[in-house]
């Protein structure tokens, strides 16, 4: 276990300040008062820099610069493509490239992206990749400077250079960035808490893969380490330990699934020599971030324009939406965190404000485990009702995604009635397409039939109508049904809500099979006793 001194940490802080300020600038970049780069794009950029896995991206960027320069037929400059094309979205770059057509020989924009032909080689930068590359170039310009980079990329401008020239330029930028990060990217172990936990659980050795992190291990660690406050990290709050454990389980789960982490397969180029492929690390970090993406997405623009969840519900969802499979595997810890972790937060808040009394340390928590579990069950019901309301809105707008949502809400529903019995079973692809379109039309026509309440679809539509009309929250009024932005929000929101629904139902189903009162009584005794050790009190 590496131990990092306070002095080393201060040095690391100083080194990284400038880099953080550069990232801040990228995130704060606006176009017409709206963020130019999405949160997802900024996170992708941060991962690429933090993992030093930007090599491939810089090659892509160099091809992108060739295409960007080709869009400026007079000056052959690249700036306008990146900074005069609006918000960094795939659609904006596609429109910009289309407006610049015809592009010079060797460069072509098609449905997927822009292709650069160098000799016998072709390289395509997809439209979907362009927002990230735009954020990368913004970062490079801000961190390294325009003058330096302009000089560096000159060979790429005003024509189609050789593949060797493009690769050489990418390597030169990579070297510049490497040097910059050497001075600005912290190198100390920043996750001492999780490292310590990993070492503890590894030595304990009661499980393998993600199951290394289990409920007894988390509690044992907190009980054993929370009273210590040394250079190894602060483990005082159960919540802090729980969060570190969740993060650790996510990484172990990812590594276990991806690499069958039992020693059978190596990770990266030369694991024995301690070398791990930066791209593998970046992939793992991305998987960890994606695990909590649905709930974050609901809370951020543009989905926050629609009140899918209120603050209390979002808080409850956050207790459980920890990434697929995590909450059911750590059900006891989830409840300990929700009940006693929050009780401890009240104690530390009271301490901060000088109002701590024994009642807070020894008092009964706000809820027992069964009551807490019921709150999650109620939330699950709320999410189901909201999904029905969203279904009603999408059906009203005749959005194709309605059918996906029906199948997600009612996987066993019989849609055979949508098939026109007079239509032959054509095998030809084109005819099947028309056939499918016709079925979609019939689907919506059927849903729209006034008063139709029979059959599984009619029944579902009746429930959905009721759910929509009973929802008085922002984004669920009859007027909103005519707003395309709201309907787009329903589409995005539905995928996030479905992911949340799955996590909640898996947790509630699994935890509902456990008899909690005895666990709660034992935990009450353990936590109260330990709170007294940590904070003093009547017997402390």
């Amino acid at each position: 276990m590496d131990v990092v001194s306070a002095e080393e940490l201060l040095i690391e802080e100083g080194k990284s300040g400038e880099l953080i300020a550069v990232f801040q600038a990228v995130q704060e970049t606006t176009i017409n008062d709206l963020p130019k780069f999405s949160r997802k794009t900024c996170h992708e950029l941060a991962r690429s820099i933090a993992c030093r896995s930007y090599g491939t991206a810089l090659v892509e960027l160099c091809y992108m610069l060739v295409a960007a320069s080709a869009c400026d037929r007079i000056g052959g400059r690249f700036e306008s493509f990146f900074w005069d094309s609006g918000a960094a979205r795939a659609s904006a770059f596609r429109a910009y490239l289309q407006a610049a057509e015809p592009l010079p020989d060797g460069i072509a924009a098609d449905g997927a992206g822009v292709t650069v032909v160098t000799g016998d080689d072709t390289f395509t930068v997809t439209y979907g990749r362009m927002p990230f590359l735009s954020a990368m170039v913004e970062f490079l310009m801000t961190a390294l400077g325009y003058e330096v980079l302009d000089e560096q990329v000159r060979p790429l401008l005003g024509g189609v250079p050789s593949r060797a020239s493009i690769t050489e330029t990418a390597n030169a930028i990579s070297r510049q960035l490497y040097d910059y990060l050497k001075d600005h990217l912290p190198t100390a172990h920043t996750q001492r808490k999780t490292h310590e936990l990993l070492d503890f659980l590894g030595a304990r050795g009661t499980g393998s893969g993600p199951d290394l992190v289990d409920d007894p291990g988390i509690l044992e660690f907190w009980l054993g380490y929370s009273a210590e406050a040394d250079e190894r990290g602060d483990f005082k709050t159960y919540q802090g330990v729980f969060e570190a454990a969740v993060q650790l389980r996510r990484v172990l789960q990812y590594a276990f699934e991806r690499y069958q982490m039992t020693g059978a397969r190596s990770i990266g180029a030369d694991r024995e020599a301690g070398e791990i492929d930066p791209a593998a690390i970046e992939e793992a970090v991305a998987a960890m971030e994606e695990a909590v993406e649905p709930l974050q997405r609901l809370a951020e623009s543009p989905l926050d324009e629609i009140k899918f969840l209120n603050g209390r519900e979002a808080g409850l969802a956050g207790d459980v939406a920890l990434g697929p499979g995590v909450a059911p595997a750590l059900a006891h810890s989830v409840l300990r965190n929700a009940v006693f972790g929050k009780a401890q937060n009240r104690i530390t808040n009271a301490l901060r404000h000088g109002g701590l009394d024994d009642g807070l340390i020894d008092g009964a928590p706000e809820a027992d485990y069964n009551r807490q579990l019921k709150s999650y069950g109620d939330l699950l019901g709320r999410v189901e009702t909201t999904l029905l309301a969203v279904f009603y809105g999408l059906a009203h707008g005749r959005r194709a995604e309605t059918i996906d949502l029906v199948l997600a809400l009612r996987p066993d529903i019989d849609l055979a009635g949508l098939k026109d019995s007079d239509e032959p079973e054509w095998e030809d692809d084109n005819v099947v397409l028309l056939h499918a379109t016709s079925a979609v039309d019939r689907f919506f026509d059927g849903l729209a039939e006034t008063g139709r309440k029979t059959g599984p679809l009619g029944k579902l539509m009746g429930e959905a109508r009721k759910a929509f009309r009973g929802n008085a929250r922002q984004g669920f009024s009859e007027d909103d049904l005519g707003d395309d932005d709201i309907l787009d929000g329903y589409v995005d929101g539905a995928s996030a809500l479905l992911a949340l629904h799955k996590e909640l139902s898996d947790f509630v189903d699994g935890a509902g099979r456990i008899d909690w009162p005895d666990h709660f009584d034992r935990d009450t005794s353990i936590f109260h006793q330990h709170f007294r050790i940590l904070y003093g009190g009547a017997d402390g």
Binding site: S16, G17, E18, I20, A21, V22, F23, Q24, A25, Q27, E28, T29, A46, R47, I49, A50, C51, G75, R77, E79, W83, D84, E138, M141, T142, G145, Y146, E147, D150, H189, T190, Q191, H195, L198, L201, G202, A203, R204, G205, S208, G209, L212, Q247, L248, V251, Y254, A255, Y259, M261, G263, I267, G268, R271, E272, G274, I276, E282, A284, V285, M288
Partner: protein
């Protein structure tokens, strides 16, 4: 490979540790900064290319104080400006009465109505090209001054300015560079 009791080898734990470190670092880069944002290139570009762009005080201050940023800005003007009037010839001395470059001539004429004011007349050779919207004066001391230009009339743009303003002084200074964009 040696394994721990739990079945994970040391290399695998290294992977987990490095992932956790990278995740924490990425989180720090995108999390609440606790420090002021740097001047982003997009802001510099907007100031250089949008005539109506109102710069933040932080940008102007940084242009005064940060040598690298000034260098970047000057380089940006050189690559994106439609007209560049370099420093006047070494033989010139004193305040210039006119300055000229390919495609453009700038002359100065005293105002008859107000002696404290002066007309700056910009004549553009190519009247079919889009007229510039901004004028930048970059001093030898690396200071930058910008003014939004009114619409050109038959290739001619006319400004009425205070004769002793920094901008006019800069335009008539042999050591400055002028960019029109």
């Amino acid at each position: 490979m040696a394994k721990g009791q739990s079945g994970q080898g040391p290399g695998e734990f290294d992977f987990v540790r490095q992932t956790l470190d990278a995740a924490a670092l990425a989180g720090r880069l995108t999390g609440p900064a606790g420090c002021r944002a740097a001047i982003g290139f997009a802001e510099l570009y907007a100031y250089a290319t949008e005539p109506a762009h109102a710069p933040r005080a932080e940008l102007l201050l940084a242009l005064d104080e940060d040598e690298r940023l000034r260098g970047d800005f000057a380089a940006l003007l050189r690559t994106t400006a439609s007209i560049h009037l370099p420093q006047a010839a070494a033989a010139s001395s004193g305040a210039l009465s006119a300055r000229e470059a390919e495609g453009c001539r700038i002359t100065f004429r005293d105002s008859k109505a107000d002696a404290a004011q002066i007309y700056v007349i910009i004549e553009l050779a190519d009247t079919s090209a889009p007229a510039p919207g901004s004028l930048f004066v970059c001093g030898a001391d690396q200071t930058v001054r910008k003014i939004a230009l009114p619409e050109a009339q038959d290739g001619r743009i006319q400004l009425l300015l205070e004769a002793d303003s920094d901008l006019v002084q800069g335009l008539r200074d042999i050591d400055t560079e002028v960019f029109l964009r």
